[in-house]
Amino acid sequence: MPMYWNEDQDMLADSARPFIAGNAPVSHMRALRDAGDSHGFSPDVWRQFAEMGFTGILAGEADDGLGLGHVEAGIVLEEIGRNLTPSPFLSTAVGAVTALNMAGDHIRQRWMPGIVAGESVAALAFEETTRHRPHRVAATATKSGNGFRLDGAKQFVAHGHVADVLLVTARSSGDESDRDGITLFAVPRDTDGVTADADRLADASMAARVMFDGVEVDGDAVVGEVGRGADVLDRVLGAVRTGAAAELVGVANGAADMTTAYLRERKQFGQIIGSFQALQHRAAHLYCEMEVARAAVLKAQQALDEGDPEAERHVHVAKAMAGNSAALAVQEAVQMHGGIGMTDEYDVGFYMKRQRVLAEMFGDADYHADRLARLSGY
């Protein structure tokens, strides 16, 4: 597969770009925040995503999806990033759909139609510690009747307070840090014993702390195999890390585009500030970092789509590189705007906040560099 978009992918980008910029631009996010919206996104926009077919990009044709891949999902995510669109796309259409594609018919048929139709939303309840440690699972799944009883606490669950279904990791056997013994469940949020308290994050998005207190689920709620949930979890993490990286590419490009536009227009000392070589070199360096990140993300997307045995490495590289390059983008963006960049009224600060959240989500650059080192044997 050549390392650029094919014609169909170009067409998808050509339709996603104006659609998202038209229906959910940065002003849409600002309006939700200013209104104190606590839902976290606009259900109307989510339904429009479904009308465009976006929600079913990774779903199979049997589920009325498009049966496409991570490159295509990434095209939508890049625009979400560029427009800072609050959306459950990553957790639902990428994370949950990846899990459901590996699940039994019963559970797949229960949740997939609502997701593809833009009526249901899913959340990923994986994290238990403040830093990403997806295989450290203290939440328990104890055999109970035909099913399990779940107990434990999760945090940083985006959309957890409004999701219809929560994908939850819990330990059915083994020690807290074992990969084996993790089981993945799909739990309706309205099940007795589930409570989700949402907090607003720095970027105005909503993330919940979710408690599972004696939650009874039947055996059908297991995604994949009992005790082997890490197999599904790792696939989901591969998908959402790559997805978050694509969104970061969009965030970085959105911030950088605002900045180069400003460099071409703002005057000081009787000159366009973009004619100062000190700024030119920083902008050019940033451009390089972003292009390299874009290539790394495309590599990971293609590797996932092709079932490349090296995919995991490429995903670590993509998430780390995208996180770092986007961090540089937003920091340079604020600095090169001067005072106006620090004002709430101006959009550039929103990019900085979103970058921070996405960089932390599913592991930051340090986490992924460490994993890459472990995979390389050092």
Binding site: P2, M3, Y4, T260, L263, R264, Q271, I272, G274, S275, Q277, L279, Q280, H281, A283, A284, H285, Y287, C288, E291, V292, A293, A295, A296, L298, K299, R313, H314, H316, V317, A318, A320, M321, N324, A365, D366, H368, A369, D370, L372, A373, R374, S376, G377, Y378
Partner: protein, 395 residues
């Protein structure tokens, strides 16, 4: 190209490489002197190296995507990519390093006359003629177009007088592609692109020692050198276009230097020198973290290189992209060698001991410092990106 045909090509290529690539040529070069540069005075470091160059040259696979009538392999971009992947998978060495391949060839393919292409390209492909690049002068570095070497029109020939500097391998090369001034009334518009033999009367070279202790480049002097008129590439006074086009290819080549297979990867070197803790982690947490962060960038740049070549072949690359590749790739390579030195510790400081293979670590480290200077400095690449890609004013 259809997937199935490409799969067939991959299978055939693999089989052919397995049969034809000598086992000694499936290991990384032992030192900078262990690579084949070809030329009239080429002295192979082994029979296997000579065989590998000959076999690949005959098949046109030293230049897989050049047309067959000029000694190339005539491969489509997708096939050339497969060949590269299969060579990498088997660990096959690049059979020939050559400024003819990476710089002059592409320029001749675009700007050369039919006679020039027929004359020079096949000899480049087979490694028979080694070329050097006469661009820089003592007073024309980053501001290359201010060059002053004169070529006077003498009817059927030019008479060349002047001096070049930093001419890599001028003392080993057979021919030079050289920028000369044919008109003093216009800066860029008075430059011509000439080809001539380094054995021509009036050409002399004087090696310059680098900080690495090696001497790969020279001062080059021209004293009434006669050059036939038909050796101009492109039109007279329009050499700047040829020069810039060639620079794009040079930058692409330099950008990839850090991607070449070397004896040991950075993590391997660190593990070999420092050892691991019980859990397998490198026994130096700070260095481990720096190496890991570096390896992320290196892998990402590897992806970028693949993307760049794919886009270039498909005509989708921005003409200023090579500047980006050159800047990023060379800065990365310098970082790699800083870490290589740290990973080697005191051992890596030895300059000529047998244990250090003649100080290869330290000398390579110092050599990489030139990467961000040769072919146009990093600052110049950033200027180009700012101007051509970001459309910033006055750059």
């Amino acid at each position: 190209m259809a997937e199935a045909a490409l799969d067939d090509f991959r299978r055939e290529t693999r089989r052919w490489l397995e049969m034809n690539c000598p086992p000694e040529m499936r290991t990384p070069p032992k030192s900078a002197d262990d690579v084949a540069w070809g030329g009239r005075r080429f002295e192979p470091s082994s029979q296997a190296q000579a065989d590998w160059l000959r076999i690949m040259g005959e098949r046109g696979w030293t230049v897989p995507d050049w047309p067959t009538e000029y000694g190339g392999g005539g491969l489509a971009p997708a096939e050339a990519k497969v060949l590269k992947q299969e060579m990498a998978a088997l660990g096959c060495r690049t059979p020939l390093y050559s400024f003819g391949i990476s710089m002059l060839g592409p320029a001749l393919l675009k700007y050369g006359t039919e006679a020039q292409k027929k004359e020079h390209l096949p000899k480049i492909a087979r490694g028979e003629i080694r070329w050097c690049q006469g661009y820089s002068e003592p007073n024309a570095g980053s501001d290359l177009a201010s060059l002053a070497t004169r070529a006077e029109d003498k009817g059927d020939h030019f008479l060349v007088n002047g001096q070049k500097v930093w001419t890599s391998y001028a003392d080993k090369a057979d021919m030079i592609f050289c920028l000369v001034r044919t008109d003093t009334s216009s800066k860029q518009g008075g430059i011509s692109f000439l080809l001539f033999d380094m054995e021509s009367p009036g050409v002399s070279t004087k090696p310059i020692l680098l900080i690495s202790g090696n001497s790969p480049f020279c001062e080059t002097f021209f004293d009434d050198v006669k050059v036939p008129k038909e050796n101009v590439v492109g039109e007279i006074n329009k050499g700047w276009n040829v020069a810039k086009y060639l620079l794009g290819h040079e930058r692409e080549m330099i950008s990839g230097m850090g991607l070449r297979a070397s004896e040991q990867s950075l993590p391997e070197r660190a593990l070999a020198h420092l050892g691991a803790e019980a859990d397998g982690r490198l026994d130096d947490p700070m260095l481990r973290a720096r190496i890991a962060a570096f390896e992320v960038r290196a892998a990402a740049f590897q992806a970028m290189s693949e993307r760049f070549i794919d886009m270039l072949k498909a005509g989708k690359a921005d003409p200023a992209q090579p500047s980006m590749m050159k800047y990023y790739g060379t800065e990365l390579n310098k970082d790699r060698h800083e870490l290589m030195m740290a990973a080697g510790g005191a051992d890596a400081l030895e300059w000529d001991s047998g244990r250090s293979h003649g100080g290869v670590a330290a000398r390579s480290w110092l050599r990489t410092k030139a990467n961000s200077i040769e072919g146009g400095t990093s600052e110049i690449q950033l200027n180009i990106i700012a101007k051509r890609i970001l459309n910033l004013p006055g750059a």
